[in-house]
């Protein structure tokens, strides 16, 4: 069972982690982008936190679509619409009560939304390289009948590994792709923030 409070807590914790790592994310973006990823997400999630507090959403679907819409409206840049669409898509797909299987399916839909919107695939050195492994970990957990806490832990670990795995990659999407081979050797900021989102979820479920 994953109740509405869990999803609200997810974004509160994500907001905290992103704010904490804001400068690290901006530094990562400075290396292969334009040094605004940390500020962008921090601005967006501060807003999400406010909106969720004010709107007191009644379902997980409402939490996710509200968060997604807010991110689309407030972040701008590439990450705003991408994360925003991912969460909106998850929200639309979720049915309550939210089971782990239901969430895993919805999460996969969210990742597919990012891939579609960003025309990005695994290995392009984007947030997809953290999100897709996380989705896969959730699917496997469901198959193996693993509990929610363990499943989310595994998803978080997969996301972190995925983010680290972007370091040797040459970017094919986003600003970093302009650097060609010079994009190699740096962790993708969006993949790093995606890992924080997964860490946040595991934390609040733990």
């Amino acid at each position: 069972m994953m109740d509405t409070e869990l999803f609200v807590a997810w974004f509160e914790e994500a907001a905290r982690l992103i704010h904490r790592d804001r400068d690290r994310l901006t530094r990562l973006d400075a290396a292969i982008g334009d040094a605004d990823h940390g500020t962008n997400l921090d601005r967006g999630l501060t807003e999400v936190r406010k909106v969720l507090a004010d709107s007191a959403p009644g379902s997980a679907t409402e939490v996710l679509t509200t968060a997604g819409t807010t991110l689309i409206r407030r972040v701008g840049g590439a990450s705003g619409p991408l994360y925003g669409s991912a969460f909106r898509q998850m929200g639309k797909t979720l049915t309550s009560p939210v089971t782990l299987a239901g969430f895993a399916g919805a999460f996969e839909e969210g990742v597919v939304a990012v891939e579609r919107l960003g025309k990005a695939a695994l290995g392009d050195k984007t947030m997809v390289d953290a999100l897709a492994p996380a989705s896969r970990a959730l699917a496997l957990a469901v198959r193996d009948g693993v509990g929610v806490r363990k499943a989310l832990d595994q998803a978080a670990l997969a996301a972190v590994d995925g983010a680290k795995a972007t370091i040797p990659m040459q970017a094919r999407r986003g600003r970093a792709s302009y650097l060609g081979e010079r994009s190699i050797g740096h962790e993708d900021p969006g993949a790093a923030s995606a890992a924080l989102f997964m860490e946040a979820l595991a934390t609040v479920a733990g």
């Binding site: 290396a31 982008g33 334009d34 689309i72 840049g77 094919r172 600003r175 060609g180």
Partner: protein, 326 residues
């Protein structure tokens, strides 16, 4: 970092307060800059936007003969769909609205979303992607939109002012983009207020070739060289991609921290290069038009003119940053 600001997160808002105070011909609402007189019935509306830090682009190009509204995002961050939607609705005179979008993932996504969500307005979009420093391939986000944006906004704006329909205005915008190329070189990096330090480190001895307008590093780093050599590198890159011929519209653009004196030195080299290829500088701009905060460096943008484009370029324009004929 030393900057003339009050706080890193209020720079754009504070600057827009200044823009509103300085230019009675403009009106600023919810971080969108409009022509004060509002939309003209029957005229196609032109909306552009993107991250801030490129001033005068786009805000400085709002006015008669050019843009109807500009949507400045946070520094180097494309605006979200909401202000774009507001701008689109706000400038529609019933003839539809053209979105002029520089080709960056963020700009593209946010303008696309806005175009989908806006109601009751016919919207066309043109992508500007003139930067030859980026290979246009499946392995990149495609070429960046840089200096040619000024050409597109000016010429499409002139045609819109003449009362041409949306399809034609969009067509001429695409034509200008197809006939334009740019290449940029940085002597220094730039410092976004929120980052607090230069985006990349560039030693005193080197320059960065093929930079964009967001302080992102370029494709290669080489030892600093003379204006003659650097202008040659930029012009060769443009010429290789779009052989120079006939009448040229040339922009020698400063990145924000380079003195005009040096830009004229570069322009002399650029003009000489063009003549060397048997082309002719028919129209030109020298100055800071598409900048990257306090970056020192320049970019060259070239458009192959024909009589129609020349006439539209010469048409009256009255904006804070570009003005002639009225």
């Amino acid at each position: 970092m030393k900057k003339l600001i009050n706080a890193a997160d209020s720079v754009v808002a504070d600057a827009l307060t200044g823009v509103a105070a300085a230019h009675p011909s403009l009106s600023v609402r919810d971080q969108v800059v409009y022509r004060a007189e509002g939309p003209r019935p029957g005229k196609v509306g032109l909306v552009s936007g993107g991250g801030s830090g490129h001033e005068p682009l786009h805000v400085g190009f709002v006015g008669h003969g050019m843009l109807d509204a500009a949507c400045p995002g946070e520094i180097f961050t494309s605006p979200a769909p909401d202000p774009i939607i507001a701008a689109t609705t706000g400038v529609d005179g019933g003839a539809g609205v053209l979105h002029i979008v520089k080709n960056y993932t963020g700009d593209v996504l946010n303008f696309e979303m806005a175009a989908e969500l806006v109601e009751g307005v016919e919207v066309a979009s043109v992508l500007v992607d003139d930067d030859v420093a980026v290979q246009d391939s499946l392995y990149t986000a495609g070429r960046r939109g840089t200096g040619a944006t000024v050409f597109v906004e000016k010429i499409a704006g002139a045609l819109a002012e003449e009362g041409a329909p949306l399809t034609e205005v969009a067509a001429v915008a695409r034509e200008v983009n197809e006939r334009s190329r740019s290449f940029g070189i940085a002597l220094t990096s730039c410092t976004p207020p929120a980052a607090g330090k230069p985006i990349f480190d560039l030693p005193e001895t080197d320059v960065e070739l093929g930079i964009g307008i967001h302080g992102e590093p370029g494709r290669a780093r080489v030892p600093a060289a003379s204006a003659h050599e650097l202008a040659g590198v930029a012009m060769e890159a443009v010429h290789r991609d779009l052989p120079l011929r006939g009448d040229l519209l040339v922009l020698v653009n400063g990145m924000g921290g380079t003195p005009l004196l040096e830009l004229y030195v570069v322009f002399a080299e650029v003009a000489a290069f063009a003549e060397g290829k048997g082309a002719r500088v028919a129209r030109s701009l020298v100055g800071n038009y598409v900048t990257s905060l306090d970056m020192q460096g320049f970019s060259v943008s070239i458009c192959l003119l024909d009589d129609r484009l020349t006439r539209l370029w010469d048409a009256p324009v009255e904006t804070p940053a570009l003005r002639w004929g009225r």
